[in-house]
């Protein structure tokens, strides 16, 4: 799996993503500068977490117009695998590659903690190796992860199986208490209609080794490897 990790001014999780894929999974990685105009020769593009362009105006609003984003949109529309994590999720929404928006956390606090996620959908490229209902333990780290979309958009996401992850209790129950940021319907991650583009607030790259407190995040990257193998067959 040839992975490209986009680096904007203010991105901070690029090296953590590279560590998960290069050091842990032993798959090749290259960094993509935000000024580049192509993402050729890649299987997976990751938009990592951080505070691109200082999060000025709105999270992801400026990054969405970086030269590289046109190439990322073409790549996504051709079926290339794209994973937006945290700030990357915000950028994908600003770019209209995923629906909805991420508002300030309901608590108005930055939340940095481990959460439980229920896998709602194993058809996306990043959850192929999971079973629906499986509970993953992965950390969050954000101030603006409060998922919002209008009711009809939410209903369409549910109907089309595009809700990929929901915040839940350790036993998988989706409760108000387990929602760290006020996201509507506890939504933590969604996919586009084809399942090749996924955005999520939690950081799977920070849960890729027992030393870090858990390795459930590897399931997502392994799923991507298997999704690519299926396409190749």
């Amino acid at each position: 799996m040839r992975t490209g990790i986009v680096v904007f001014p203010g991105t901070w999780s690029d090296r953590d993503c590279a560590h998960a894929i290069l050091d842990v999974l032993q798959e090749p990685v290259r960094y993509i500068d935000h000024r580049e105009h192509h993402v050729d020769g890649l299987d997976l593009v990751i938009l990592p977490g951080g505070f691109s362009y200082g999060d000025y105006l709105r999270c992801g609003a400026i990054a969405r117009f970086a030269p590289v984003m046109e190439a990322v949109a073409d790549f996504a529309n051709r079926g290339g695998l794209v994973l937006g994590i945290c700030n990357g999720f915000q950028i994908l929404q600003e770019a209209r590659l995923l629906p909805g928006a991420l508002l300030r956390n309901a608590s108005c606090e930055f939340r940095c903690e481990w959460v439980h996620l229920r896998v709602e959908q194993s058809n996306s490229a990043f959850t192929l190796d999971c079973r629906p209902g499986q509970v993953l333990r992965i950390p969050i780290s954000h101030g603006e992860g409060n998922f919002f979309a209008e009711t009809e958009t939410l209903d369409a996401l549910e109907r089309n199986g595009q809700v990929v992850f929901r915040y839940c209790a350790s036993d998988g129950r989706v409760t108000a208490d387990s929602n760290p940021n006020g996201s509507l319907r506890n939504i933590a991650g969604i996919a586009n209609a084809h399942g090749n583009v996924v955005g999520m607030m939690p950081h799977p790259e920070r849960a890729c080794e027992p030393l870090l407190g858990g390795d459930d995040g590897l399931l997502l990257f392994r799923s991507a490897i298997h999704a690519l193998a299926q396409v190749a067959v």
């Binding site: 117009f65 629906p99 909805g100 928006a101 508002l103 300030r104 309901a106 108005c108 919002f148 979309a149």
Partner: protein, 94 residues
């Protein structure tokens, strides 16, 4: 002509505003009990040169739609006023 455009970006009525709720809480804590709602937003001031007010407004509207506001969650309002022509250095009166 030089124009000064004020752009007011606000969350749509259906969108929750945690910052506004927190500010309301602060006001109530100070004894301002009559406040029933606070909505927070962004205020941007742009200076731009365009041939006339119609074109200036159209241009700012385009900016708001493309970048300044996110139509998924925000509304915007534009106020425009001409700014006096910059006086050339030689014409400046003593």
């Amino acid at each position: 002509m030089r124009y000064r455009a004020e752009v007011f970006v606000t969350l749509k009525p259906v969108v929750n505003d945690p910052a506004g709720l927190t500010i309301r809480g602060g006001l109530r804590a100070l004894g301002f009990d009559s406040v029933s709602e606070v909505r927070s937003g962004k205020y941007l001031v742009l200076t731009l040169d365009e041939p006339d007010a119609t074109q200036a407004r159209a241009r700012v509207d385009q900016m708001a739609r493309q970048l300044l506001a996110n139509s998924v969650i925000e509304d915007y309002r534009i106020e425009l006023e001409p700014v006096g022509e910059p006086v050339a250095a030689g014409e400046r009166s003593a």
